[in-house]
Symmetry: C2
Subunit: 463 residues, 2 copies
């Protein structure tokens, strides 16, 4: 069979059997798996193991300090292995009253399947299985490369155990590239490829100056925790939005010419972004007066954000106290090659040097930034096959603002990581009426089958 014939057979298989796979999506979605409260996650891990087995994988649960990771393997003809990172946990479904049909009673209507997890991430997982089955069927039962599934159960709570899991199982997880858990198309109907997340360092700053709140008639004597915190925070970032921690920007990569080209192309696809942000968020102005192309380009600016502040009296009216305690939650979004552990140390040193020894810094979590080069053969393959499936030029984001545990795989395993998937701009992941369109499901399977088919032939990643 020629390559065209194989792909025609793949597409025919997908078209013919899509309903059966939507049933698998429904089966998985009917099993609640809310990691925020560990509701049904153990049962869902077993169900994923079963489903992977039904599709020919040798699957097993691997214990972690949290919920188990499901690892599945399918052998292929070439020695090369493509890893699929997915997760079986979901966001809490609340508020329930905003769902048209119950979140854990999957329903197909108007060409979409509605359920918590339909898109994020159970639909994604099954789209990969559909791609694998279609390709194997078209090739007489043989996969062109090996496939390795890593399906974790704690993605929606920040993947606290995945980096350790990869470290502990580095040899068994050896592979040549990975497709991340999600992907899809933009408002223009073309694929969006994401080449890396920013890293994150999250800390809680807290100050206690007194054993209890005091009457504010004594504010000329008794030290306020609130003021100490305000001054400590103000020392971290100025109104110019530049972070003032010495060495904070060391190692932060500026965007290269290729990055700028990609970001500017993404901006040109959506030149009304300012207007959209104004409408969606009621923003009157943007950080540091940014506008136009800088809205995309500035993703290469690391940030220092305060998630929340809490101190003293927050009710109505007046309470004349000097607060004894004050806390702030702060997250730093980091760009390659900033290192969260290094930033934490610099933060502590800065506070000490500024005289804020009384400000306690507690680590809440961190993720490293990660990036795959746009010139990597896997990225090139993903772009080329996206053009075939979606008929136009994909948007490629060299870096996105959020954070994810890509670093836990890319670094230790030395692999390129990119995205392909079932999403579209309005799939309501994390919100009521989450859904996946069947057309997106089929296109994602077609795209992933083509990536798998081409993966055996591409050059080794230069990394």
């Amino acid at each position: 069979m020629t390559m065209d014939e194989v792909l025609a057979a793949v597409d025919a298989y997908i078209e013919r059997h899509v309903d059966r796979y939507i049933e698998d999506v429904a089966r998985l979605c009917a099993q609640p798996s809310v990691s925020a409260r560990r509701e049904g996650t153990a049962e869902c891990a077993k169900l994923v193991e079963t489903v992977l087995g039904e599709h020919g994988a040798s699957a097993q649960l691997v214990a972690t300090e949290g919920d188990p990771v499901v690892v599945g393997r399918l052998p292929g003809r070439s020695p090369r292995t493509l890893l699929f990172y997915n997760h079986y946990d979901v966001q809490p479904p609340e508020p329930l009253e905003l769902w048209t049909s119950p979140p854990f009673a999957p329903k197909v209507r108007d060409g979409s399947i509605y359920a918590r997890g339909a898109k994020d991430d159970k639909g994604e997982l099954v789209a990969r299985l559909l791609a694998i089955d279609a390709l194997r069927e078209a090739r007489g039962g043989e996969l062109p490369c090996s496939v390795l599934f890593v399906v974790e159960g704690e993605e929606e709570v920040g993947s606290p155990h995945i980096a350790r899991f990869v470290q502990d199982h580095k040899d068994e997880l050896a592979c040549d590239g990975a497709i991340w858990e999600e992907g899809g198309i933009g408002a223009d109907g073309q694929a969006e490829l994401i080449l890396g997340p920013r890293g994150m360092l999250a800390v809680e700053l807290s100050v206690r100056t007194l054993s209890r709140d005091a009457h504010s008639g004594g504010a000329h004597i008794l030290p306020s925790a609130t003021w100490r915190l305000i001054w400590a925070l103000a020392s971290l970032k100025g109104e110019d939005e530049r972070v003032r921690i010495p060495g904070f920007y060391d190692g932060a990569q500026a965007p290269g010419p290729l990055d700028l080209e990609m970001l500017d192309r993404a901006f040109e696809k959506n030149p009304n972004q300012e207007q959209m942000l104004r409408e969606n968020y009621g923003a009157q102005r943007f950080v540091a007066g940014r506008s136009g192309k800088d809205l995309e380009r500035s993703v290469f600016e690391p940030t220092c954000n305060v998630q929340g502040l809490s101190s003293g009296y927050q009710g109505s009216g007046v309470k004349t106290i000097v607060p004894a305690e004050a806390t702030a939650k702060v997250d730093f979004r980091l760009v390659p090659d900033q290192d969260p552990e290094d930033i934490l140390e610099k933060l502590r040193r800065h506070l000490a040097q500024q005289g804020f020894e009384d400000v306690d810094v507690r680590l809440l979590g961190w993720m490293r930034p990660s990036r795959t080069s746009v010139e990597d053969p896997l990225v090139q393959l993903t772009q080329r096959t996206a053009r075939e499936v979606y008929g136009g030029e994909p948007s490629v984001y060299p870096l996105v603002g959020g954070s994810s545990p890509v670093y836990a795989f890319a670094g230790p395993l030395g692999i390129p990581v990119t995205t392909a998937g079932v999403g579209y701009w309005n799939n309501r992941a994390h919100a009521p009426d989450e859904h996946m369109r069947l057309s997106d499901f089929k296109n994602a399977a077609r795209h992933i089958a083509r990536i798998l088919h081409g993966f055996k032939d591409i050059e080794q990643s230069p990394r």
Copy 2:
């Protein structure tokens, strides 16, 4: 009768009839009057009117926009009038489980009467009635000067209507001096005289940058309300504790030589103040490194205090948001002759000049500072009679850290205001097991009777 004979008769009357007056205290305390929830305040106003009438005053309720003020008059021989400012409302009694006997079931035990309001302010009010009755009895039914009672019902919620009440009734309230609602003795058993409260300006600063919280992956674009508030607050006061609002210190009186003498004498009476503050509040250091005598002297430093901060996520763990809103409650304690309305205007101007037009300033309340000179004849009389009653030198505070509506009387009526009363250091006003010692009650009545007796003879206040 000589003056000594009159005072001997006063003291004998007090000793003989004290129980009857404690019954009046109990009657008043048995009527709840919690202004924070307007619980029983109307009933208590009527009861105060009744009780004043029973003691020979012509009393009436005067309406305000809040609870009524009870005004009572007793004519005297001289044309001079002494005003007693008191209040019939009390603090909420909670937490109830910490009371030995129920807060509104007054109980005499171990030489004290226990109830909410026993000291603050129903005991104070009845101590004045006891003084009046004792003096009148000793003088054959005639008071040496006229007495004017102003008993309001909203003191514990910041006296929102008293300034307006005084303005509206300025002519009827004409008088020559006032004794404030509370007073008493310090740990050394000697009287404490307070010559003025600081003023206060309370505002809420709030910022909204977005219509809803955004994902903190967008922190390089979407402006944070939290950061705007932090920077705005940091512009108000530096780590040196100096307020940075231009003109803030204009008109602020530095303590004069007499003030410093009084403050230093108060400090010498209690040289272990640092140690006590460390024990009571767990303070490791004091504002601006103050210590020793400066702990007392610095009451002449106006303050800028943050009562509370609220923004974004305050739960456990991490929530990756850019907060859309942030608020802070700020109080400024003002010294004579700072003017809260002037400070409010300067605050607004400062924020605008610093580029914080997005920070909304909402007025929560204000009180002016107020001071009576230590050289005022009423203060001299109060000091001299305190020596007679308590046997030693009273502590005189030219200014205290808290705020009260003294200004509403002192300024418009042009009168000196000082203190005398039933308190002692451990009377638990505002707390469970509030009580008044019968010995303090009797001494306060003796002291007030002597002030009333001498008031006719002192020079007109120079104000």
